[in-house]
């Protein structure tokens, strides 16, 4: 579950950067999205650490589909 959250977090982060650089977000929105993504990253790392995991441990080998998160 945590791996899926991390995957979604990265997708959201990429999308936020794209939108910020594309100029479609005003400063207030950038701050808001940045805060939300920052808190999410901290929370994912905090929960992972509680289970003795490092961020890179959140990747999953999906057999013939490759890895959940690209290496």
């Amino acid at each position: 579950m945590l791996s899926l959250v991390e995957l979604l977090r990265r997708l959201l982060e990429r999308q936020a950067i794209r939108r910020m650089e594309g100029g479609s977000l005003d400063e207030g929105k950038i701050e808001e999205m940045g805060q939300a993504l920052m808190k999410l990253e901290m929370k994912v790392h905090e929960i992972a650490a509680a289970f003795g995991l490092k961020p890179e441990d959140l990747n999953l080998e999906l057999g013939p589909l490759g890895n959940l998160l690209d290496k």
């Binding site: 650089e21 057999g63 490759g66 290496k71």
Partner: protein, 249 residues
């Protein structure tokens, strides 16, 4: 643990009487060859499932078989644990997908895949001073990486027939289609390019040109595969080389 007999596919290649075949497969099994037109497919009959404690050893043995052929010619490698229930399933598979395999092997004849991965030495601590600063820092890191990848592209194109760049965790992976025999020139050329202090670069290869296979060969629509013991996976040749993938860099 009860075992059943399955057929393990290693790789496909084009017939050439001068090629030497590996003498033994995984778990000391015999190596067999399925013939279909000019296509040849190496396979072994294996007891399944493998003992989990021996999986790493089986992976090494699998890698040896594939690389025995790859050292001599172009191959389409399969993933370890791509299994057929029986000989008929494998024959049917090759009858369906043989033409695509042959076309790709002809197209990729005499080429290998070299890889370069670039990534941040250390992701560093995120800037937590504000939401904007956090996002700007992430954007800056991404921009530095994009710029260096673009900077590498042109010199790499001079020693490669084709260059593909994919985003990966914390970096970028660059796949290059290189003429067999030009691997060292490729390495020398890429090592001449200086790397920004915040980034690290690792080069690997030669590998089978899996990234450059056509989509139909990468993902043929078949069942009968048991990846990691899962009976619901699909058989497909690996789009990237299996052993040490990712971690080999």
């Amino acid at each position: 643990m009860t075992q059943s007999q399955k057929i393990l596919a290693y790789c496909a290649f084009l017939h050439d009487p001068a090629l030497s075949l590996p003498s033994v497969g995984v778990s000391e099994t015999n190596i067999n060859v399925l013939e279909h037109d000019r296509l040849r497919l190496l396979w072994s009959q294996v007891g399944w499932p493998f003992d989990p404690s021996a999986l790493q050893q089986r992976a090494i043995e699998f890698h040896r078989v594939v690389h025995h052929l790859f050292g001599q010619t172009a191959v389409v490698p399969f993933r370890l644990l791509s299994l057929f229930d029986g000989h008929q399933h494998m024959t049917d598979f090759i009858a369906r997908h043989g033409p695509g395999f042959i076309a790709d092997l002809e197209r990729l004849h005499n080429v290998v895949q070299m890889e370069c991965i670039i990534f941040f030495k250390s992701p560093g601590r995120p800037d937590l001073s504000s939401g904007s600063a956090y996002l700007q820092q992430k954007a800056g890191l991404k921009r530095a990486l994009d710029e260096f990848a673009e900077h590498l592209k042109s010199p790499l194109k001079a020693v490669s027939e084709e260059v593909r760049i994919r985003e990966v965790n914390n970096g970028k992976r660059i796949y290059c289609r290189v003429q067999r025999g030009q691997e060292e020139s490729f390495k020398v050329r890429i090592q001449e390019i200086s790397v920004p202090p915040s980034l690290e670069r690792r080069i690997s290869g030669p590998w089978p040109a899996s990234e450059f296979l056509s989509e139909s060969v990468k993902m043929p629509e078949v069942a009968q595969s048991y990846p990691a013991g899962d009976r619901h996976g699909r058989l497909r040749p690996q789009p990237r080389t299996a052993v040490g993938r990712g971690k080999r860099h």
